[in-house]
């Protein structure tokens, strides 16, 4: 008896340790960034653009604009495709008798899974070869967000599918039993009920864009100017951290930018948690 409790206490001790270590890592990483980064953050830091050259001078204005630009354009490409695909896979695919379509659906599922596993540098290479070079879009927001869209489409598909699956089947049956067709049922009953879950997924994808570096490293060009069209190149905040850390020696600026970035991620996570806890409350 005693030995059993002793084993339990030893095991639980290890688990507490694991939990504590995980939190310490987080506290250390985030704390370090904030402690080093906060002194450099001021209003000026947000309202001025970086300077050229190697000094690392200037603020982050243009990188904030580029980041925002990237989020909007990427989501514009990826959201309809991702949500549409998820709707097809959850709401329609089970009910098709057509053999060809069934095969296609299997292939599509495989596609989504594969896509989710592709490392981002490969998306970068692909984006560079297709959008930057072959299609001649150059280093631009357009090229980068098309490549970025490929990265987040599987994220959106998966989270949307989860959200749709969690809609009680009673809603669908209730609607169909009233003589609604599939699309009417989806549009009027299922999508509204899944709305929060879907928006969580989209927000999550926005987070991926904010923190992505490898893809944009080879498709966005890194110009520190404020972009003025889809064809302009640019530098996202994450990319700016890379440039600051690797090219200049402005470590303090890199940390300040990283702190802003982490702050943004925290805000996004809080929003997601708020949305999901509201779902749970329902």
């Amino acid at each position: 008896m005693n030995k059993r409790m002793l084993t339990q206490n030893a095991a639980f001790g290890m688990f507490w340790l694991a939990g504590i270590v995980a939190v310490l890592i987080m506290a250390f990483v985030v704390g370090y960034i904030f402690v080093k980064g906060f002194p450099g953050i001021s209003l000026d830091f947000f309202t001025t653009s970086p300077r050229g050259g190697l000094s690392g001078d200037g603020g982050i204005y243009s990188t904030v604009v580029t980041t925002f630009y990237m989020i909007v354009v990427t989501l514009t490409f990826a959201t309809p495709l991702g949500v549409g695909a998820a709707i097809y896979l959850t709401e329609y695919s089970a009910n098709t008798e057509n053999k060809v379509v069934r095969k296609l659906v299997t292939v599509a599922r495989f596609g989504v899974e594969t896509l989710a596993g592709v490392p981002s540098i490969v998306f970068g290479l692909f984006g560079y070869a297709l959008f930057v070079s072959a299609l001649n879009f150059g280093f631009s927001i357009l090229s980068a967000s098309l490549a970025g869209a490929c990265l987040i489409i599987p994220v959106i598909i998966r989270t949307t599918e989860e959200a749709l699956k969690s809609v009680p089947s009673g809603y669908r049956e209730g609607s169909l039993a009233l003589g609604a067709n599939r699309w009417e049922t989806t549009w009027k009953v299922v999508l509204p009920a899944a709305f929060r879950g879907i928006s969580t997924g989209i927000l999550l994808s926005a987070g991926r864009i904010v923190s992505e570096t490898a893809i944009f490293f080879v498709t966005l060009g890194g110009s520190y100017r404020v972009p003025h069209s889809l064809m302009s190149g640019g530098r996202t905040m994450a990319l700016h951290v890379y440039y600051l850390a690797m090219e200049t020696r402005a470590f303090d600026k890199a940390m300040s930018t990283a702190a802003v970035l982490v702050g943004l991620i925290i805000v996004m996570n809080l929003t997601i948690n708020m949305i999901t806890s509201k779902i749970a409350a329902k």
Binding site: R4, Q8, A85, Y88, F126, I153, A214, I265, I266, N269
Partner: protein, 298 residues
């Protein structure tokens, strides 16, 4: 009746539109593969697939394009990350799902989610400034801090949230009945966790680890910042075989990112070939995971 035909028409249109979006993901995968492969073809043709895969020297200037060292680098750094990260992540998952009081869960879980959102550049920066100097203090000839160990540590932290989150979810979704059944037989909490909960959650835990593995294999920016990027087959630096992890190395992803800016001709093509190898490697990992899961489900 006209309303009826309009409704049916819309239904048909939407069905087609949605099917097309579902197929878009296939199209993207195909496009990626075809494009990368197309760019990689000249290298495969001129160098030879086998020669590339088995070659240990990478000297584009001399026309030598062996990527075995990079495959080894990617493999070892991932192995290191798994060795360090998996116990920590699984421990955290069990802690969160079964042990920690609710208020602690409410603090720890968001912290871990936050780790997942931090950009990899920041981890790289962090690794360069904190981890590399720490590792440099290990006495061994040639140890400059940059290398597999530093990279594995950074990577372990990066995959921690992925593995911990999914495993926690898997453990939480074990039917309550199992737990109650075990406790009702007079099992202690730990016996219940180790003999019933974890075995029942195994498929989820495996897929969590595999997903982490995939992320580790695919990580780029943080890796080039801390791993040293030397193209050498890692070897032990002292009598202790573990010192292999003090060796510098280059990952497949790093190979692409480090050299793509200046590469031309066959060299550039060889980098795309590296991408193809990476792509196939990850697909292998994922499908073996699916195979494991299927076997587990039976």
């Amino acid at each position: 009746m006209t309303s009826g035909t309009r409704r049916t028409g819309l239904e048909k249109i939407m069905k087609t539109v949605l099917l097309i979006s579902a197929l878009a993901s296939v199209l993207i995968v195909l496009l990626i593969f075809v494009f990368t492969l197309k760019e990689a073809m000249p290298a495969f043709r001129e160098i030879g697939v086998w020669k590339m895969l088995s070659g240990t020297t990478w000297r584009p200037g001399n026309g030598e394009f062996g990527i075995l060292a990079m495959i080894a680098g990617s493999g070892l750094v991932t192995l290191g990350a798994i060795i360090i990260g998996v116990p920590l992540a699984l421990g955290t998952a069990v802690f969160l799902s079964e042990i920690a009081p609710e208020w602690i869960v409410r603090v720890v879980r968001p912290s871990i989610e936050l780790l997942a959102g931090i950009p990899s550049v920041v981890y790289g920066l962090f690794g360069m400034v904190i981890i590399v100097p720490l590792v440099r203090m290990i006495p061994a000839p040639g140890n400059a801090g940059f290398g597999l160990l530093s990279a594995s540590i950074v990577l372990a932290v990066m995959v921690l949230p992925t593995i911990a989150n999914i495993s926690e979810f898997a453990i939480r979704s074990v039917p309550r009945g199992y737990k109650e059944g075990s406790l009702a037989l007079g099992a202690t909490k730990w016996e219940t966790i180790s003999r019933v909960m974890i075995p029942a959650a195994r498929p989820g835990i495996i897929s969590a680890v595999v997903l982490g593995l995939g992320r580790a294999l695919g990580e780029t920016i943080a890796m080039i910042m801390v791993i040293g990027n030397s193209v050498i087959l890692p070897t032990a630096m002292t009598d202790n075989p573990l010192s292999i992890f003090l060796s510098r190395a280059r990952t497949l992803t790093g190979n692409i990112a480090v050299e793509i800016s200046y590469a031309t001709g066959v060299h550039e093509s060889a980098l795309f070939a590296t991408g193809v190898v990476l792509f196939i490697l990850i697909m292998l990992v994922n499908s073996s995971a699916r195979f494991l899961l299927k076997k587990g489900a039976q």
